[in-house]
């Protein structure tokens, strides 16, 4: 019999030695990717990790707290441009990164205020309005966007003789690990339970003593902090910013990643990010097929497997738990 005996054990990420060893091996293999994989994978890997941070943030908001936001590209733009301007002013990478997250988080906290009154489709429209307004502001105000030439961001300097792409990959992977660890702890704490309670029924949650205003604003703030950090990392990765990268299409890709990965699942967010980055890379020349595939994936997930890739992963694990019996 496999029983969880204490709360501490329930919180643990893995409880058996074999899964723990497998997980550790996977993490080590991913951390050492630059030393065994082809060079082309490095760029893709960095992109997946930075994307995963944002998708986790989006999932905290949509999947856990149940608040629909179509303004994600707006937070992404705020983070990216805050980071870009700080970096150009000569501020070091780590401080710019935190400042970008904080700027986006503050904006997210403000955008969260309508969520205290609005629900479902109304909230979706309000945040959509925010996202588009941010995009148009950046597209029209040259002091912010750097005009027609865009904003060039100084590259990351690697220590010693390490090649730059290897260093970028390692930094991004470390940041991804840190942010997903924080997210895991957040969702298994009282904050995560408050989010889930609000998602399932906000009136009931309020009756049980959850402070709706505080936790809805917190959900918006944390989620947009993550998205802002993603924007900063994306800006650093691209090395060049223009408002065109932050239109509504970007928000839709986020949705695809969250839904395909699996709502309310951190590891699902990683699968979703990998899906949203690797599928277009794999399709290569057939660019028109990317939206078709994304759309079909959404339909398939919602009709056949509402838990997304995380659900598939869960079922596979359950199957192998008793293998070869049953």
């Amino acid at each position: 019999m496999d029983l969880v005996e204490s709360y501490r054990e329930e919180l643990r990420f893995t409880r058996k030695p074999i899964p723990r060893a497998l997980l550790l091996a996977l993490l080590v293999a991913l951390a050492l990717l630059p030393w065994w994989a082809p060079r082309a994978w490095l760029a893709r890997g960095s992109l997946v990790w930075l994307y995963a941070i944002g998708v986790i943030g989006q999932n905290l908001l949509i999947g856990y707290a149940g608040q629909i936001s179509f303004g994600q590209a707006g937070f992404l733009a705020v983070g990216a441009y805050a980071f870009g301007h700080l970096r150009i002013a000569g501020v070091p990478f780590s401080i710019s990164l935190l400042a970008a997250g904080a700027a986006a988080g503050a904006v997210g906290w403000l955008v969260g205020f309508p969520s205290l009154r609005l629900k479902g489709p109304y909230l979706a429209i309000a945040t959509l309005g925010f996202g588009t307004a941010v995009y148009q502001t950046f597209a029209n105000v040259e002091a912010l966007s750097g005009g027609r030439a865009g904003l060039a961001i100084p590259p990351l300097q690697p220590p010693g003789t390490l090649p730059r792409d290897v260093w970028v990959y390692c930094v991004y992977f470390a940041l991804f690990l840190a942010f997903s660890a924080v997210a895991y702890n957040l969702v298994s704490s009282f904050v995560g339970r408050a989010f889930v309670a609000i998602r399932d029924s906000d009136i009931a949650a309020e009756a049980m003593g959850v402070n709706l205003a505080r936790y809805k604003l917190l959900a918006f703030g944390v989620s947009s902090f993550y998205t802002g950090v993603q924007g900063a990392l994306l800006a650093q990765y691209l090395g060049h910013l223009e408002p065109q990268s932050f239109n509504i299409q970007e928000t839709l890709t986020f949705f695809v990643a969250v839904i395909v990965g699996g709502l309310a699942s951190i590891e699902g967010s990683v699968f979703g990010a990998a899906f949203a980055i690797l599928v277009p890379a794999w399709l290569g020349d057939f660019r028109w097929a990317v939206p078709v595939l994304f759309g079909s994936a959404i339909l398939a997930v919602l009709i056949l497997e509402p838990l997304g890739l995380a659900g598939v992963w869960l079922k596979t694990r359950l199957y192998f738990r008793l293998w070869p019996f049953r």
Binding site: L118, P121, I125, A126, Q136, L252, A289, P291, L299
Partner: protein, 293 residues
Amino acid sequence: MARFLQYALAGLSGGSLYALVALGLVLIYRSARVLNFAHADVATFGTFIAFAAVTSGLPLWIGLPLALAVGAAVAMVFYFGAVVPAQRRGATPLGLVILTLGLSLILQGFTVYRWGAEPDRFPFPISDSKVWKVGPLFVSELSAGTLSAAAVASLLLYLLTQKTRLGIAMRATSENLQAAQTLGIPTRAVLAFAWGTAAALAVVAGVFLAPALLLDPFFMLDPMFKGLAAAVLGGLNSLPGAVAGGLILGVAESLFGAYVAMEFKSTLAFVLIVAVLLLRPEGLLGREFQERV
């Protein structure tokens, strides 16, 4: 004064298209409680069907009904093929919204594949360069055509929902689904009809908008967001509200562009949405559904 009226008229003709888009969105929201994000892409797809028909030599009076039928068919197939199965699996309202995003992406990819992403010029029998002078105003043939098409479509929709048995069934279904089913109304067919009608309205808007702009696979996105703003302004479950919201938004936008700031013209719609949602979430003419725990 003449300048003011001229801009107001331009806003009115643009606003009538927003009203058509808003009518479709409200029709679907009222009956199925789904915000249809695929509305723009269904309209674009239908417009491209009309474009293909006209460029292959068919007259517009065949091409337009064909486009309407194809748009409506796409929406109905989507309803039966995706919305119904998802609802059977207990999809949440969020899930249904995302389902429409899926359809939007599929249609968009297909449109790009079939007709390419480069803008095309829509050959249309009524032009915007032919102008009549009415008093101090200049009225182009296209804006007169747009206004009358929107008026005819709204009138037909009014007659449909208020004067026919089908319209009564539609209103009953959106009022209370279970009660309608108990009374023997084939609610699924009625809902599918609502999806189809909404898509047809959007295609009308697309076909009349295309000659004014260039036709590319993303040309309906902006009008759809405006339509969404108009629907929110008028109240997401009120059909007269959608028309009023569309016209108000069109005129306000045109005047704002003329007198305040041209480059922030389209931002106005979103500022308006946020303001309306904060001050009066049910919209000008709407009435929000009560909620139970």
